[in-house]
Symmetry: C2
Subunit: 590 residues, 2 copies
């Protein structure tokens, strides 16, 4: 886009007619935080004028009647991994724009590890043909994992030299506390380049406090979306690290974030909202940022404040307030017509200057383009995995093994804790024990063909039998499998390879439910509604295997993230967050 | 500066000792707007840690006792033409840092028209050796005047391609409403480049409202420092144009700006403070941003809010909040020790990590460097100017002429209005008439040697006899002269050329007082105190010629600015702001 648009300026000056005027509504001025009567004139997809736009109307100007509605800027998701809903960006845009989210900030980091910087660029070009405005914050490094797990493509200074020149660039993402504290040379080089390119260092510092947090601030971390308590939010802000308050499918930090504002008295200007990671069930059943705004209002925030957080504050944080985040002239014309402000009842959505949705329904959904060959056939395994490949072994005479399990708990979001357990050994093979809720977890490299597999134990998952597996798995998108049966785990993994990616539930050697994700091994070209239905089917299959987790597959996908305390599993093995090293989950045998 | 500094991060992590700790004070957290006990640790000129810094102290760490003081971030002047005080940047830094202003935003536009982009770069390098942090916003174009007046060097897209790559770059400046409305091709090209380079379009839109203002917003104008009323401030903000509230030597818009916050209820987060243009008398007698903060508090603003405007808000507006504007780790260590917050009694100043001033006195003033030859001998005139060169003539038989005067009035700041007058004609020459306060104003090109002179009449100046002249004269820095006697005007102009630039008062053919400004014709290497004394002497000489203006020389210098309504004079002649054309000040004769 050319930013300086003479036609827009002529329309603003009332010397040329607008394409569209929106009349009769109450305008939300997010700068002053006030509501008052005001119309909007739109030309070339941007806002030309606000207030009295009578002078911008010509014979060909279309009119949208906003009588009885509040006009608000389109909402911004300030931190969203756009691939995690497992649908193409076009389908994601169709789903979220209709509900009022017109801009997202995203790193496209899942794409990065499979199809690299060219694949990211391809999807950003795809995004331009949708009503969604996609801003890109290149991943601080790929893989994010420490020690580095196996991925198809890495991402470092060379890739940043490319992507930081893109017009969609707004900084780097997941600038991790660990990278700062470990003096990661490549990440430091990328951060220095980012500042020189006048972009932001968007952070990732879960449960980081004290000296470690001070070090992150000293290294220029601009914001964080990982605070689990209001006090953590406050400490971060005191060090100049702004809060992106999160509520995703498995991480609900919004009540604490709102408490930081309402009880601890932090100024709302420093906060914005994000979903981070969601499944399509959430998008379809609740919404995206529209839901966060409603939820924040329920939690006690004034509706105007909540909307400022979801618009202007996010735009200013990412330094794109000249493009989005308000209804001021010059901005991209993303406008919500809202009936009943506190309930955020979105009657219509104008995006990039066109009426794209009414009553939550798209006027004309965009269709996904044909994806390049590089997005297909990305799962490589030279020979099928066997149960023996997955089993952890001890000396053949042993009867019992002492093991360290990752213990996960929905209440703690994505944090995992240590649990110690004693397992039975048969012919040197340590057996899973569903009766004490200790299962196997494996992560199998799907890039090199070698099928290098990291193996450990997990508790809290609750499967009584069978196995479930996924090849969508931030951060490296290898195949994560959790199972009560090593044989079923092998079936699950091999099935995903055959599907060219996906998710699967297996019992007694048979596939109970599956979902093909043939694009990069983690996306399908289906609507959010269709994906939501598939997710429900998969999760129900997992319930049938005994788990009581609400969204077992959504939990499963995050078990490889080494940047979240305290344990993770990658194809390298079990990783302890504190030491950032691979540890042996077998503590002894007897 | 390398932004990522490993030593800083080690100090933040308490694994290496700090250079300096400031202990025992109350820390002003401009993010939360709160005060609380807290120390600071400083390393390599930057803030390493805040709060409890015990772990950062080693045997070589110095300690500054802040018992009883508030620690606040150094103040930021959000819009200052740094050459207008007529002293070198080093002397300016000495003067203002001691009083608490540690950062300025400046275009160095006076330098631009004389020594071009290389001269600007030279002075930015000079600034690095001072305690003052100087951010650069390249002038939207030079000359700013429309129609273009004569200057030594122009500034356009080619120069922006250079200066926008500098680390000091924060955008373009004086992005003028006129340029937007006139579709100025070169300015549009510069603006497009600026946005592509992720810098800001910092505006100039005096008394601009309605459609014209909407056009400015549509063209991306980010802020403005030229609002004369609270309502103007409000309208601008409603269009996304933030307010830089100004109080300079001749323009005091701060009461209206504060009224916009206190009475109209606009959120203070969108406002910061600037002086724009001052003489050294003001700096010495009052201060720089320290005075603005005190004044804003007197006008009713809460001290913390006033300080936030002078720190964080300015840093965020210019997108340099990772460098300045707070005491968060990572920022440049610019720290004020303030006793008695509402009175802003600054006990000590730490700048770039070093204690530079105590009780308003510099610990060790920096000395100006030797300036390059290009800064000297910049006044060119092939032959002396004569009274005949300056006189406006009509047909020889005429007895009277109807003329249009610029009428200036201190109450209106830099705005001028039209006044019509009737003057006597002698031998075809229109005579000035001090008895009705109608004087000559001339502007003489000092670059080409040709001495092209624009001529007009001025009212409101009040000289009864003699003439005063200046070769500091934003925007083009030609020689402005106002006089009750054409002969004295010629003496004044010729004297300034002989001085290689300066200011002068002449009576009856004799120089009554003068001030040499041999660097670029508008700067001298003297302290602010010495310059203030010279200014007083010059102004007193002008009082002796009959003017009742408080700072006649400071008024004089601005009469060439064509971007301020309603009239200006350049070497091209009298310019009407409304039409941006040269007009004939002689309306008729009889």
């Amino acid at each position: 886009m050319e930013y300086l648009n003479k036609r827009l300026i002529r329309v603003a000056s009332c010397t040329e007619p607008a394409d569209l005027v929106i009349r009769g509504g109450q305008l939300l001025d997010v700068y002053s935080g006030t509501l008052g009567p005001g119309d909007l004139a739109i030309a070339d997809g941007r806002i030309a004028a606000s207030g009295d736009v009578t002078g911008c109307v010509g014979p060909a100007t279309e009119t949208l009647d906003a009588e009885g509605s509040v006009l608000a800027p389109g909402l911004i998701d300030a931190h969203l991994h756009a691939e995690v809903p497992k649908i193409t960006l076009t389908n994601l845009a169709n789903a979220v724009v209709a509900r009022g989210t017109t801009s997202i900030m995203t790193p496209l980091d899942q794409l990065g590890v499979v199809v690299g910087v060219e694949g990211m660029r391809w999807v950003l070009d795809e995004a331009r043909r949708t009503p969604l405005e996609v801003f890109h914050s290149g991943p601080s490094r790929l893989p994010y994992t420490t020690p580095a797990s196996t991925v198809g493509r890495t991402f470092g200074p060379a890739e940043h030299r490319i992507c930081q020149q893109w017009p969609e660039a707004v900084g780097i993402w997941e600038y991790m506390a660990d990278s700062v504290l470990d003096f990661d040379e490549a990440v430091y080089e990328v951060a220095e380049m980012t500042v020189a390119n006048r972009l932001g260092l968007h952070g990732h510092a879960p449960v980081t406090t004290g000296r470690a947090l001070t070090a992150c601030a000293a290294a220029g971390m601009r914001d964080d979306h990982e605070s689990y308590s209001a006090e953590e939010v406050r400490e971060k802000l005191s060090k100049g690290i702004k809060g992106i308050l999160r509520r995703g499918t498995h991480t609900d930090n919004l009540p604490e974030g709102v408490r930081a504002i309402l009880e601890l008295g932090l100024p709302a200007r420093h906060f914005c909202l994000c979903t981070d990671d969601l499944d399509c069930q959430d998008i379809v059943d609740l919404g995206l940022v529209d839901y966060l705004v409603r939820y924040a209002i329920e939690l006690g925030l004034d509706p105007v404040t909540a909307l400022q957080m979801a618009t202007l504050n996010a735009a200013e944080l990412y330094r794109v307030d000249h493009l989005v985040g308000s209804l001021a002239p010059g901005r991209i014309a993303n406008v919500l017509l809202i009936d009943d402000l506190p309930r955020l009842d979105i009657r219509a959505v104008v995006a990039k200057g066109r009426l794209v949705a009414r009553e939550g329904e798209l006027v004309s959904p965009t269709r996904s383009p044909a994806y390049p060959d590089s997005f297909r056939n990305t799962m490589r395994l030279e020979r099928p995995i066997t149960a023996d490949d997955l089993a952890l072994a001890v000396e053949s005479g042993a009867r019992q093994a002492d093991v360290l399990c990752l213990h996960v708990d929905l209440e703690e979001g994505l944090l995992s804790r240590r649990r110690d357990a004693v397992l039975t050994v048969n012919n040197g093979r340590i057996e899973p024990d569903p009766s004490q809720d200790v299962l196997y977890i494996t992560v199998t490299d799907r890039y090199t063909g070698k099928g290098l597999t990291g193996r450990g134990f997990i508790s809290g998952f609750g499967l009584k039998e069978g196995a479930i597996a996924t090849s969508l798995s931030p951060d490296d998108n290898n195949i994560i499998c959790v199972g009560a049966s090593l044989a079923d785990m092998a079936v699950a993994i091999n099935h995903l390879v055959a599907l060219e990616g996906g998710q699967v539930a297996v019992r007694d050697g048979n596939v109970v439910a599956d979902m093909p994700l043939p694009l990069c091994g983690f996306m399908a070209d289906v609507s959010a509604e269709a994906m939501s239905a598939m997710e429900k089917r998969l999760n129900e299959a997992a319930y049938g295997l005994g788990t009581r987790l609400k969204r077992p597959f959504f939990f499963l996908i995050f078990l490889s993230i080494t940047a979240i305390p305290e344990y993770a599993v990658t194809d390298r093995g079990v990783v302890a967050h504190a030491s950032r090293t691979v540890i042996n989950p077998i503590r002894g045998c007897r």
